[in-house]
């Protein structure tokens, strides 16, 4: 398991009607490494994340996540992937604590884990307020707690630091940062920060792979070119 790559995509594509949202994605991410995905809106970043999260089935190619082939063995991947999506994936009328406890039950975890995360992210004072009353930044912290609740070996992060002030970003760093030790896939619009954080970079444009390589070999100009 340790030497097997965490993610291995070969020619993965996904159609919406006649339009290819993602075409011919071929990436290998070693376990513990970080992949950053750049690309303008609609380039296929979210589609790729959703394929990795087992929420979308690929139409072409072969995909294997955490050593399990998708979609045939997708049930074996579920529960091992944490997704921090654009939406918070929380119930608005429930409190942070209730949301986390609910997800803990779905993942067959005890309630201590929820408390521990609430404390780590300094959410305890607001833990019993409905999440719809929380600010965007606080909401994002709850969403991070939900994404890492079951201690997943693979994290999928869709612009994780949006809406976070630097202090809050530092707070969640141990959970979703490099020191968390998880394999990570991050989408980003920030060439400098994105390249600094990752080992591998993937650039998407109109669903196709326009850029791929170790971050040490890619300069910010190449990333910026994707958006032009």
């Amino acid at each position: 398991m340790a030497d097997a790559p965490a993610i291995e995509l070969t020619g993965v594509g996904r159609r919406y009607g006649e339009r290819w949202a993602l075409r011919d994605a071929t990436v290998t991410v070693p376990a513990g490494a970080t992949l950053v995905i750049f690309g303008p809106n609609g380039a296929g970043k979210s589609t790729l994340l959703r394929v990795l999260a087992t929420l979308l089935r690929p139409h072409t190619g072969t995909a294997s996540v955490l050593g399990e082939e998708l979609p045939r063995r997708e049930w074996a991947v579920r529960g091992k992937v944490g997704l921090l999506a654009h939406d918070a994936l929380l119930y608005r009328d429930l409190s942070a604590r209730e949301n986390l406890r609910f997800h803990a039950r779905l993942h067959k975890l005890g309630e201590e884990r929820a408390e521990q995360l609430l404390e780590a992210t300094r959410l305890l004072p607001r833990a019993d307020d409905p999440v719809r009353t929380l600010s965007r930044g606080l909401l994002q912290r709850v969403a991070v707690c939900r994404a890492v609740l079951h201690d997943p070996p693979l994290l999928l992060l869709d612009e994780p630091r949006a809406n976070l002030d630097p202090a809050a970003a530092e707070l969640i760093e141990p959970l979703i940062g490099r020191e968390s030790g998880r394999t990570r896939v991050i989408t980003s619009h920030d060439p400098v920060g994105g390249l600094a954080e990752a080992d591998l970079a993937l650039g998407l444009r109109n669903g196709s792979q326009a850029l791929l390589g170790p971050t040490s070999e890619i300069d910010t100009a190449a990333v910026e070119a994707l958006y032009r």
């Binding site: 919406y16 009607g17 006649e18 690929p58 139409h59 072409t60 979609p71 045939r72």
Partner: protein
């Protein structure tokens, strides 16, 4: 390849329809109570039977679609339901005419076939709006199949319930006073069922061939002129793009 056998099937259908027409008009005996108009029975009942069978068949096709993930089955299920809906309307209209002729009312609530026919029509009439409200063709196919399976099981159950709730005071097709259909009527009736079945199958095959051809032309145009030169597809209740390789399961 979808056009294969269409010519032979067309000829067979024409022969069967003409034979049915000739038999019904010139050979089948006039009903003692109801006179000539009773002969609409040879249209109404076969159409009704074919419609109900078609709905169940569409449900089976839909099940195949979910099992294999192949959009071919979605196309078949869609076309069968589409044509069955048209047959359903014909069945309702001829049923109403028959009711008017036999009992003096355009609609009778104690004729279970007619009533369950109306209910089934109301259910299947929502099939197209349901499809139309889903844009992603893959999801449209899956959701439509789920609907077709549920509705296919609904058809016999609904018939049972309506039948149970109806007091049988009117003469029934196979249960007339002298117990069952006379031999000549039965023969004409069977010929008519075969003809209607052929007609149904023929229209289904034509529509499948037409849809497949349209898709092939579109795919060719996209390949020759480029993806952007061909106008994007609008929303549609019909399956819109050519069935492709089924996604691996």
């Amino acid at each position: 390849m979808h056009g294969k056998g269409l010519r032979a099937l067309t000829l067979a259908t024409l022969v069967a329809l003409s034979a049915t027409f000739a038999l019904v008009v010139f050979w089948a005996p006039n009903d003692a109570d109801q006179g000539f108009i009773q002969k609409i029975f040879y249209l109404h009942v076969p159409v009704a039977i074919i419609t109900l069978i078609a709905y169940v068949v569409a449900g089976i096709f839909a099940w195949r679609q979910l099992k294999t993930g192949s959009r071919e089955w979605d196309l078949r299920s869609y076309v069968v339901i589409h044509i069955a809906l048209i047959f359903n309307i014909v069945g309702l209209l001829t049923g109403a005419i028959w009711a008017k002729a036999s009992w003096g009312h355009w609609w009778v609530w104690d004729e279970p076939t007619l009533v369950s026919f109306l209910i089934v029509f109301l259910l299947y009439a929502t099939y197209q709006p349901l499809r139309f409200s889903i844009e992603d063709p893959e999801r449209q196919a899956r959701y439509a199949s789920v609907f077709a399976i549920i509705a296919g099981a609904f058809v016999p159950l609904n018939f049972m319930a309506v039948r149970m709730a109806t007091s049988l005071v009117h003469p029934r097709t196979f249960g007339t006073a002298n117990g069952g259909l006379p031999g000549e009527m039965m023969f004409v009736f069977l010929v008519s069922i075969v003809a209607m079945g052929l007609l149904f199958w023929l229209i289904v095959k034509y529509e499948i061939a037409q849809k497949t051809l349209t898709w092939q032309i579109r795919a060719l145009r996209r390949r020759l002129l480029g993806d952007d030169a061909v106008a994007p597809l609008g929303r549609s209740a019909a399956p819109t793009i050519a069935p492709q390789e089924a996604p691996a399961r």
